[in-house]
């Protein structure tokens, strides 16, 4: 499996990196890890199963509010973290009927779903704190040790990304991977006996759960939530762009895409262009679509064909 080696190298490198960095850079890396997890989750649905979503903020926000509310109401933050992911996964069930829609209609339905949830989060003041937000969310801790510092949070986010990568890896290269890839041609997949709706639903639940996990972690890390933040369209657009950039349909592509996009913008582009750097992001997407159809990983793979395994 051609992706195993790059993934191992990436995680090995990441495990040592923060030891040499200051807290500001650690914070950037944590955010990159959260975004990478979100990009992985988007890619399961958009890259593997071919169901392009414009509304992953829905699952991210559900996970964030789920974890935040539970932790504030006395749940152990670790439990809240995974229950938050579970709540987002259940949120996937509400999106199930949209899987019957094809092409742009599914994408738009997801966009609407995220907007509806954002409005609900504002209206349900008793539960979410409404527009004022949810403050003082308890931080993760272990055996009485506070883990709210940057370094522990980095390693927690890294472990979550490894978890997400394992799930993604299993879905791509496990027994169902071929069936998921076949969903790009739905009628042909049906003719091949592929249980189209069931596989789409599986991809939706896995994707929603992982996006929720990213959101849940973010809530416990920054410890403050407000609806425009938790359901921000950025959580929908970023993973999409990162997956396209890195190579949708691969496991490692969206992770590489996120690091390239986010750290590139924060560490390089912002040095020259403090405001309006998103214009460059848009330009990048256009260039990738025009010239790197298989994304960065696909490009690298073609250049270094030796990475390809023999059957």
């Amino acid at each position: 499996m051609k992706e195993r080696l790059p993934i191992l190298i990436l995680f090995a490198g990441l495990s040592f990196l923060p030891l040499f960095l200051d807290d500001y850079l650690r914070h950037l890396l944590i955010t990159a890890l959260v975004l990478a997890l979100l990009a992985l989750s988007w890619n399961i649905l958009g890259g593997f199963a071919g169901q392009i979503s414009f509304g992953h903020a829905a699952f991210f926000g559900l996970g964030a509010y789920g974890a935040g509310i539970l932790a504030k109401n006395g749940f152990n933050p670790w439990l809240a973290l995974f229950l938050g992911s579970g709540i987002a996964l259940l949120g996937g069930a509400i999106a199930l009927p949209t899987l019957r829609l094809r092409g742009p209609y599914f994408a738009l339905a997801m966009l609407a779903y995220a907007e509806v949830l954002r409005t609900l989060a504002i209206l349900a003041e008793n539960l979410t704190g409404g527009a004022a937000g949810l403050f003082n969310i308890p931080a993760l801790h272990l055996a009485g040790i506070d883990l709210s510092a940057k370094l522990p949070n980095f390693y927690i986010a890294l472990v979550l990304l490894v978890l997400g990568t394992s799930v993604t890896f299993y879905l791509r290269y496990g027994p169902l991977g071929l069936g998921l890839a076949a969903l790009h041609e739905e009628e042909a997949a049906q003719a091949g006996g592929v249980p189209v709706f069931r596989l789409k639903a599986l991809a939706l639940f896995a994707s929603a759960g992982l996006a929720g996990l990213a959101g849940a972690f973010q809530a416990l890390y920054i410890r403050f939530l407000e609806p425009p933040y938790a359901f921000s369209p950025e959580w929908s657009i970023y993973p999409l762009v990162a997956a396209l950039l890195g190579g949708k349909g691969t496991v490692v592509g969206p992770i590489l895409g996120t690091f390239g996009l986010y750290l590139g913008a924060e560490l390089v582009v912002k040095q020259f262009l403090e405001r309006g750097y998103h214009i460059l992001t848009g330009l990048l997407v256009v260039l990738v679509i025009l010239f790197l159809r298989r994304g960065l990983f696909g490009f690298l793979e073609d250049r270094y064909a030796t990475l390809r395994p023999k059957h």
């Binding site: 071929l178 890839a181 049906q190 003719a191 091949g192 006996g193 189209v196």
Partner: protein, 237 residues
């Protein structure tokens, strides 16, 4: 026991695509379905494969009603099909494309072997590891057929699998299809524009025109049938 479409009616909005059509494909027989453009061939084909549900009529497989069954289920029951415009799964190799059919229909005892065998029969084994994006028309057409065969179907529905090929490729593929159908004792339904290929390949031919069957019979009789000639020439000759 046959694959049987009985008294099928399909309309799209106000347009009547099929009306009272009955057709039978028996195991071990090669059947052709011809008709001018817009006659309803592909619609009938999709009714058999489950991609279109008829408003009236039934589809029976081995005497059991399958009208309500999804295309996936029909594929698992042994009804294989190809698509007029090849629809390979993008991002996958030639071998993986065949493996999807072999694995998910659950019919092949050894899916990997069935996929490989199907590629071998259609001369695609050399390019098994090539991504489908790099295939030419002739290779894509053969992959359509190989995928369907990898599922080890009992019935095989071919939708214009010869279209877009040059005469030599067409003749070669037709010969391969005939050998395969005999070897595997398939019930074969061939939807095709090229009458010569259909007449050479099949033992029984159905003729559709404006959504209705206007003739059926052995190829040599159909070739002489005045109704068929009129349908194809619009009565000019």
């Amino acid at each position: 026991m046959p694959l049987y479409a009985q008294n099928i009616k399909v309309s799209f909005g106000g347009l009547l695509a099929l009306q009272g059509v009955t057709l039978e494909v028996k195991i071990g027989y090669r059947v052709g379905l011809i008709g001018p453009n817009g006659a309803g061939k592909t619609t009938l084909f999709s009714v058999l494969s489950g991609h279109i549900r008829p408003q009236e009529g039934e589809v029976l497989l081995d005497g059991h009603r399958i009208t309500h069954l999804s295309p996936e289920t029909r594929a698992r029951l042994g009804v294989g099909r190809t698509f007029q415009i090849p629809r390979p799964f993008p991002g996958l190799t030639v071998y993986e494309n065949a493996l999807v059919f072999a694995r998910f229909t659950g019919r092949a005892p050894n899916p990997e072997k069935s996929a490989q065998k199907a590629l071998e029969v259609l001369d695609l084994l050399k390019i098994a590891d090539v991504p489908v994006e790099q295939l030419n028309v002739s290779q894509l057409k053969r992959l359509e057929l190989a995928r369907a065969l990898a599922a080890e179907p009992r019935y095989l529905l071919l939708d214009e699998v010869f279209a877009g090929l040059n005469p030599r490729e067409k003749a070669e593929l037709a010969e391969q299809v005939e050998i395969l159908a005999k070897e595997r004792n398939l019930g074969l339904l061939v939807v095709e524009h090229d009458l010569k290929t259909v007449f050479r390949l099949t033992q029984w031919v159905y003729v559709l025109s404006f959504g209705s069957l206007i003739a059926e019979g052995p190829p040599e009789a159909i070739a002489q049938d005045p109704k068929v000639i009129e349908a194809y020439t619009g009565g000019v000759i």
